[in-house]
């Protein structure tokens, strides 16, 4: 059997960064109607305050569309995608299981539950940070429970992880649904929660963008310097210990960072399926499992995937009402069938 091919990670990161910038430009400039690619430069340049001509008003409107509507939505998509992908990478290493992800482990459901409670009990009106904080609490609680339930002797077998994840996902999903129906008389809150649970980036403002970006930068800064420790976590705990890390402690810390990445994203995007599961696999196919290369590659691929998916949502006919979670699921499911085919040929997941 031949050698395993690895693409040079620096080159991959450069190519993906360039692709992300190009896609971001298309994202800003393409729309079903309104300002297009050709209007970006003039909108950024702006117009004199004293110019009251109809042409100047059009430029002002374009500027508002680019800077206050599309750009914050782009920032949420890019950093949210990067965060979910990086959270998936961390969870797969920490649970020593290539099928772990924020969706499967229940982290995303826990974040949604915490966020839903914040909306239902009107905490979101008190402070913009309330939803992400409640999401973080929910994500941490559910992940900790799955960790305890599935982690007999720290082995995290696929079956125990799946069973614990399904159990907690179902329970937390039911509690979230109950929270919504419990406050059905509060139509605004319950409809907001329902809309948000379906996943989507409509009406994202700079508040959402700052929190998503800040959450990513904060928690990724805790993860990236630990790339070599993530490599060691994929080994047995006694091997990791013999190489100089306290596997149990490092696992807890990194899982909490992954909860943070998931929570700050889910709080601003709602539920988005598959990104945290599929993107780490895709990145591993390109640069291999070494986390120093895998973390930036997965983050960039996750950003790219979510930006492209949301662009498709925006360009789809208005009456189709295409949701972001639907697009990511449509892209993710075939990829998993591909992984299944590989697995049947005896290759590792």
């Amino acid at each position: 059997m031949g050698q395993t091919m690895r693409w040079p990670s620096t080159r991959i990161v450069l190519v993906l960064t360039a692709a992300l910038f190009a896609t971001a430009l298309l994202y800003l400039g393409l729309a079903r109607e309104g300002a297009g690619l050709g209007d970006i430069l003039s909108a950024l340049r702006g117009v004199d305050e004293g110019d009251l001509s109809p042409a100047a008003d059009a430029v002002r409107i374009d500027r508002y569309v680019f800077l206050q509507i599309r750009l914050p939505r782009l920032v949420v998509a890019a950093f949210g995608g990067a965060a979910l992908a990086m959270a998936g990478v961390v969870m797969q290493a920490a649970f020593r299981n290539p099928l772990a992800s924020p969706d499967l482990v229940g982290t995303a459901a826990g974040a949604a539950f915490g966020g839903a409670l914040a909306i239902v009990f009107s905490l979101a009106g008190i402070a913009v940070i309330a939803v992400p904080l409640c999401s973080l609490a929910g994500a941490t609680l559910v992940t900790a429970l799955v960790f305890v339930l599935a982690g007999a002797h720290q082995r995290f077998s696929t079956s125990s992880l799946l069973l614990a994840g399904i159990a907690l996902n179902t329970l937390v999903g039911a509690l979230t649904a109950f929270a919504v129906t419990f406050t059905f008389d509060n139509y605004t809150a319950s409809s907001r929660v329902l809309f948000w649970l379906m996943g989507g980036l409509e009406s994202r403002t700079w508040d959402h963008a700052w929190i998503t970006m800040g959450g990513f930068l904060l928690f990724a800064a805790g993860i990236v310097p630990r790339a070599r420790e993530l490599d060691l976590l994929t080994l047995r705990d006694d091997s990791a210990h013999s190489l100089g890390i306290d596997a149990a402690k490092v696992r807890r810390v990194l899982l909490w960072f992954a909860c943070g990445l998931t929570a700050t994203t889910v709080a601003n995007t709602g539920g988005i399926a598959f990104v945290g599961l599929v993107v780490p696999h895709l990145a591993r196919l390109v640069v291999g499992p070494t986390h120093r290369a895998l973390l930036p590659t997965a983050a960039l691929l996750g950003a790219l995937l979510l930006v492209v998916s949301d662009l498709l949502c925006r360009l789809a006919p208005a009456d189709a009402n295409l949701r972001l979670g639907v697009v990511t699921a449509l892209l993710g499911a075939p990829y998993f069938l591909f992984l299944l085919a590989r697995h049947r040929r005896g290759e590792a997941l």
Binding site: M1, G2, Q3, T4, R6, Q92, A93, R96, N97, P98, P225, R226, R228, E229, D231, L232, T234, L235, R236, D237, D238, S239, H241, S242, L243, G244, I245, D246, R284, G288, P289, T290, E347, A348, L349
Partner: protein, 253 residues
């Protein structure tokens, strides 16, 4: 001077006593075989010697300092380990896995340096793993995976090596190569402790045998004394037959 010393180690899991008052020492330049039946407590003792698990009673000291007081990276530079089972569900190449053995030599955020990669090459070469070093470990035979695991321990350049069943799944040539290599490492001043069921091969090469039986040290002596007919009957429940011309036979590379 003892490099690694365990004193009065005891451990219980539920109602079962796994280890009961075990004393064991490792000295530089010595190849020690840890033997006993399945379930005698060999792997558990390895984990306690490594510090991966705390004993209920007793102490382990590394260079006369309690193991628990050692900073993790400093301890890892002194004491390396080869586990019994294959390890990763991910498609690391052999070289990537062996490179992990250099972690104790670099602080968390530091990149690996050229001397790290040179140590990795030496380790891969020592176990004859260079031909398959760039293949995914998930595609390697179990014997090849064992050699990669041993290479990772060698890449740490630790002075003490703990190996749990290092020759399992190895063909005769590679098992012998590995034992000869471990003997050379011991002759060069390292301490080597091997837990193994491969008694015929290792008894001829080790300096000392520690026999574990029902959680206690039954014998700690030279191979000739430890593997006496009476001890083999008590510890393993087998009768020793006179050597025939067929097996056991001495082999060399």
């Amino acid at each position: 001077m003892n490099a690694l010393a365990a004193k009065n180690l005891s451990l219980q899991r539920g109602k079962r006593i796994v280890l009961d008052g075990v004393d064991l020492t490792m000295r530089p330049g010595e190849l020690v075989l840890l033997a006993g039946r399945n379930g005698a407590g060999k792997s558990t003792l390895m984990r306690l010697l490594l510090g991966a698990e705390r004993p209920a009673k007793g102490t382990v000291t590394l260079h006369d300092r309690p193991l628990a007081e050692w900073p993790a990276l400093a301890r890892a530079r002194e004491l390396a380990f080869v586990p019994q089972e294959a390890e990763s569900h991910f498609e690391f190449t052999g070289r990537e896995l062996v490179t992990m053995g250099r972690h104790p030599h670099r602080a968390r955020s530091m990149s690996l340096q050229p001397d790290d990669f040179a140590a990795v090459e030496r380790a891969l070469s020592a176990v004859d793993a260079l031909p398959f070093a760039d293949r995914a470990v998930t595609t390697l035979s179990s014997g090849e995976q064992r050699r990669i695991a041993v290479a990772r321990a060698l890449a740490t350049e630790a002075q003490l090596l703990l190996l749990d069943e290092p020759t399992s799944n190895l063909d005769l040539e590679h098992a012998l190569q590995l034992v000869v290599l471990l003997k050379k490492l011991a002759a060069a001043g390292r301490g080597v402790l091997i837990a193994s069921h491969d008694l015929n091969l290792l008894a001829r090469h080790c300096d000392r045998v520690v026999l574990l039986h029902e959680g206690r040290v039954f014998a700690d002596a030279s191979p000739e004394q430890a593997f006496s007919v009476a001890n083999m009957a008590t510890v393993f429940g087998v009768q020793s037959l006179a050597p025939s011309s067929y097996f056991p036979r001495d082999f060399s590379l």
